[in-house]
């Protein structure tokens, strides 16, 4: 290139424009790569669980209890039964309380009070689950011993803020014309809530409950010092109860390969259960008009 008397201003400008464009493309590439990375990590984790869990699974795996302490073999029947029972009881405790809190917030509370309750629920949702385990230990287990009921209480505390907040959001989505129409027809407030608002919002409430149950099903920390593990199938709420997360947690540290394999099988069962619950929740929310 020959020397120019005056540098072409457009040359500089196009160079800068090109640089700006390139920076833009690079950053967009980085953002895309990050999204791909997240999906890849998910695929790798689920892939390893499936790859290592599938060989451990056969019919006996679901129908037999785990062989005691470090012995290989046996299945996860009692862990599955335990998880289902614990979740059922925790749901039975958390849903009425969460529903009432949501009704209070949307129907009765002045804005300030409603805000304070929302804040409290969000803070409760942020309490580490291991601290909830210590709380339940201190409240229920000390003096009475570990029990399935104590563990279910811990899970219920995990579920409560999730259900209350999600239910409140669904109730707020109910068109106010419905509420006003009902009140204008002379229905009382309680009747409006029970026969107009709740039926309209039931789909979203079911979704919220399933999502919360799926979250609680994977929790280990509130169970560690409250339910203890056992090698028997147990239906008694006052006794020890095994569960999938605790079974996995205990099996991982075993030096025996077969026991670690059992952990992978249990992990596959747990992850499938949670993914199915989430999928089911999505289907319910798609079919309902609200939520």
């Amino acid at each position: 290139m020959s020397v120019q008397a005056q540098p072409n201003p457009f040359a500089a400008r196009t160079a800068r424009a090109r640089r700006r464009k390139i920076v833009g493309y690079v950053m967009e590439g980085v953002a895309t790569a990050a999204a791909i990375l997240a999906v890849v990590v998910l695929a790798i984790v689920i892939g390893s669980v499936a790859k290592r869990g599938l060989p451990a699974i056969d019919l006996d795996f679901f129908t037999q209890n785990a062989a005691p302490f470090g012995q290989s073999g046996g299945g996860i029947a009692n862990a599955i039964v335990g998880t289902v029972i614990l979740i059922a009881i925790a749901t039975a405790m958390a849903v009425p309380a969460g529903l009432l809190l949501a009704i209070f917030n949307t129907e009765f509370a002045p804005p300030r009070v409603a805000n304070a309750i929302r804040l409290t629920l969000n803070v409760l949702a942020g309490v580490p689950t291991i601290v909830i385990g210590v709380f339940i230990f201190s409240l229920v287990v000390v003096g009475r011993g570990q029990s399935a009921f104590a563990a279910a209480m811990g899970l219920a505390i995990v579920m409560l803020p999730l259900i209350a907040r999600a239910t409140e959001e669904v109730l707020l989505l109910v068109p106010s014309s419905l509420r006003e129409g009902s009140l204008a027809l002379g229905a009382s407030r309680s009747r409006t809530v029970l026969t107009v608002i709740l039926p309209t919002a039931v789909g979203g409430m079911v979704t919220a409950t399933i999502v919360a149950a799926a979250r609680a099903a994977g929790e280990t920390a509130p169970l560690l010092f409250t339910a203890a593990a056992t090698f028997k199938t147990s239906f008694s709420l006052s006794g020890f109860m095994n569960s999938l997360p605790v079974q996995i947690y205990n099996d991982v540290t075993s030096p025996t390969t077969a026991v670690v394999n059992r952990a992978w099988g249990a992990a596959l069962a747990l992850v499938s259960m949670i993914l199915l619950l989430n999928l089911f929740a999505r289907l319910v929310s798609r079919r309902s008009s609200i939520g």
Binding site: T32, L119, S190
Partner: protein, 322 residues
């Protein structure tokens, strides 16, 4: 002058039969009962955890926070190394997770084709649905050995000149714990950031583009400055999640009693120590000391969450949302 609620007034005059008002009162009563229960639960939660820690609090006081011994034989307990481990893992996890999470949120709000937004957004959220015990199992069996064999030797060779990065590869330790925590934090921060980004008014974005910005310049100069406050709140929520995670961390961190000399070595966090030792303690003072750790975690999480909520509320008021 008393102002009466018009609705209840109407109820009273028009059709105030006893039964109706009874129904309303019963519903209000039940709902108020639930609120009282929530308040009681919060108070009890704090009281009972502190109560459990009382022997350790009266024995060690605040020197618990600066002590470095954890010895059940001599009954000496101090939390400094654990506090260090908790902060180190959580902060390093945030350093990895926050940029990735923001990038994912940008991809999902600005770049992804409409058809891909929902499914990819769903997959990122699914990452949060994987139970921590399963992530820990994967971390200890798959990721740890992989890091030890392939990643850590490379890091030692190329980053070893940095103070904390020289050492020996290890399958369990600080690094796997940070990475597992990062995997847990990413979906939280990403979903909050995504909501924030989609709340940026489109006329601001259009204005920036019309002035000749590239898409990245619009993001960098217009969108990100708009959401700084909310982003800070999201990062704090991610931090709260990371310090409280017990199960996955205790599986991969190695449960060391002393502070590690480098990022590869075994360490321990408050939550992980609680998960590992609370069920089988040697002395009652050890149990109380572990509960003291729970008190510290509780205090940090309460403060972090409260501040984050208040920031979010201020943001919402600014944006004019309810």
């Amino acid at each position: 002058m008393t102002v009466r609620n018009p609705t209840s007034d109407l109820d009273f005059h028009l059709a105030g039969t006893g039964r109706r008002r009874l129904g309303d009162r019963a519903l209000l009563g039940a709902a108020s009962f639930a609120v009282a229960g929530l308040v009681l639960l919060m108070v009890l939660l704090i009281y009972k955890v502190v109560d459990q820690a009382r022997p350790a609090i009266s024995e060690f006081g605040f020197s618990f926070l600066t002590g470095t011994t954890w010895n059940a034989v001599t009954n000496q307990f101090g939390a400094l190394d654990l506090i260090w481990g908790t902060l180190a893992t959580s902060l390093f996890a945030l350093v990895i997770a926050v940029p990735v999470a923001i990038a994912i949120a940008l991809f999902l709000t600005e770049l992804a084709p409409r058809l891909l937004r929902t499914p990819i957004g769903m997959l990122v959220e699914l990452l949060a649905a994987i139970p921590s015990v399963v992530l820990g199992l994967w971390g200890i069996v798959v990721m740890g050995p992989f890091l030890q064999a392939h990643v850590e030797p490379w890091m030692i060779a190329h980053l070893g000149f940095l103070p904390f990065f020289d050492g020996f590869p290890s399958a369990v330790g600080l690094l796997p714990a940070c990475l597992i925590l990062a995997v847990m934090v990413v979906p939280i921060v990403a979903s909050i950031t995504r909501e924030l980004l989609s709340s940026v008014p489109s006329d601001l974005k259009a204005g920036s583009l019309a002035l000749g910005s590239t898409r990245w310049e619009m993001v960098r100069r217009v969108m990100l400055p708009q959401i700084t406050g909310g982003l800070a709140a999201g990062v704090m929520l991610g931090f709260a999640r990371a310090i409280g995670e017990a199960i996955a961390v205790t599986q991969v961190i190695g449960g060391s009693l002393v502070r590690p000399e480098n990022i590869y070595g075994p360490a321990d966090t408050m939550a992980a120590r609680l998960a590992a030792q609370y069920a089988g303690t040697a002395t009652s003072l050890q149990k109380a000391s572990l509960a003291y750790l729970a008190v510290i975690l509780l205090v940090i999480s309460l403060i972090t969450n409260l501040v984050a909520q208040l920031i979010v509320r201020r943001m919402q008021r600014k944006l004019g949302a309810p």
